[in-house]
Amino acid sequence: MTPVIDLQNSMVLLGRFPALTDLTMLASKGEIIIVKGPNGAGKSTLLRLCAGLLPMKQGTGSVLGFDLTTERMSVRPHVGLLGHKTGLYADLTVEENMGFWAQISNASSADKRSAMDLLGLKGRLESVCVRNLSEGQRRRVSLATLVVQRPSIWLLDEPHAALDKEGKELVDSLIIEASKAGATVLIASHEIDKVGLNQKRIIEIAGGSVVSDTGESHGKENNVT
């Protein structure tokens, strides 16, 4: 089986700055990988690279079998990215945002309902404009749109940020479920110890390349959960 994410000596420039210098990593189907590292190490950049949102300057890479240098566009529909920003329309209500993203992702309205219920977006919150939500509530809506999308690769940039305790646990269970369903999950986080996952692989990056990886061999053997 080919790995789901396969980066070889990737270099990515943001402006003129080499945010990733020489990064090599493999990820297989169903794997849960936590990416840690100091501020500015390149975690967010790595996730955006895997999403096909950034061009690779040097090196080779493929995601889901699509070449990152030539078929970047084809990767995109298969990944779900939760970034530092929420990607919601501030002037639309929670209900309307969810409706839009569900329709765009061809999800049924029952799926939409269940995602909203799961993330505690019911009752009065449905008709509040996203602009007026609290930080944590906004993150919840953002997560709900991701759940509706059912991507094959989940790229989560600090998914626990701004969430309350119950919310953080919810995210953990979401991740495990997604992985069980065969999705690969990449999590950039500073709260690794909080991520209550039993079986997890931790990649540490610094200065734009990998400095340690607890599951390197694991990844190579393509063990599938």
Partner: protein
């Protein structure tokens, strides 16, 4: 053009030769234009502007078309060479186009009794071209990711180049809304000496374009080169950031590197 041997200079044998040609050619042109050619029956001395106005116009076209071609090739091949060509050519195009406007206006004063005529299609389309070039160069000046900027500039560059046939054909398409000359070069109405001087002007404008182009290209190329050199330093610094963060793990990392 890619290999610039001495990075401190943007000149070479070729450019010095072109410079020499211009040094000799321009006085010759002045001699012909001002003293040897006759004045026009109804345009009098102002006709002498023909010898700059027309060559400038033609090579403004050439410059903008080069920008268009450079842009297309950049989008296709993603090569910095074409991007630099497109940029350099647009700058020269702007200068030439500006000169067309200025000489045209000066010429218009005695012949049409006005500096500018808003209803004239050729004048207006030329001005639009000038403004589009300004916009293109404004985009190129914005501080941003060079690749991103190059791509966007290319899209604009192509749209600017589409304008050229419109400027050129405008006098025929809207015959009755222009004061401006239609093509007179091809009708053979010009006297021999006038024609010769005009061709001399054309050749000189061509040399001038190539000359400026070579220099501007090299400057542009060196600029990116310098930036890239800076980038290597930044890259090393960035890699060091990683190694400094944890010395133990590096050893592990190196070990794994061999396995790969």
């Amino acid at each position: 053009m890619q290999n610039v041997r001495n990075p401190n200079l943007t000149s070479s044998k070729g450019t010095r030769f072109m410079g020499f040609l211009l040094l000799v050619g321009v006085p010759t042109l002045v001699l012909f234009a001002f003293f040897l050619t006759p004045e026009d029956d109804n345009m009098e001395d102002a006709v002498r502007l023909l010898y700059i106005h027309v060559p400038m116009a033609i090579f403004a076209y050439v410059a903008v078309i080069t920008t268009g071609i450079g842009s297309i090739f950049y989008l296709w091949k993603k090569s910095r060479w074409w991007d630099t060509v497109a940029h350099a050519s647009a700058e020269i195009g702007l200068i030439f186009c500006g000169l067309v406007l200025v000489t045209g206006s000066i010429w218009g004063r005695p012949t049409w009794n006005t500096w500018w005529e808003w209803g004239d299609v050729r004048l207006v389309t030329t001005l639009v071209l000038f403004l589009m070039l300004l916009g293109y160069l404004a985009l190129r000046q914005v501080p941003a990711n060079p690749d991103l900027r190059a791509k966007r500039a290319s899209v604009v560059g192509i749209i600017v180049a589409i304008n050229i046939p419109i400027v050129n054909r405008s006098v025929e398409w809207w015959e009755n809304s222009t004061l401006h000359q239609q093509s007179s070069l091809t009708d053979g109405k010009l006297e021999d000496l006038t024609l010769f001087t005009l061709f001399l002007g054309l050749i000189l404008a061509g040399v001038c374009y190539l000359w400026l182009m070579t220099h501007r290209f090299r400057v542009g190329w060196l600029q990116t080169e310098i930036e890239n050199e800076g980038a290597i330093g930044v890259l090393q610094e960035r890699i060091a950031e990683g190694t400094a963060s944890s010395t133990e793990t590096i050893i592990k990392e190196d070990g794994e590197g061999e396995v790969r």
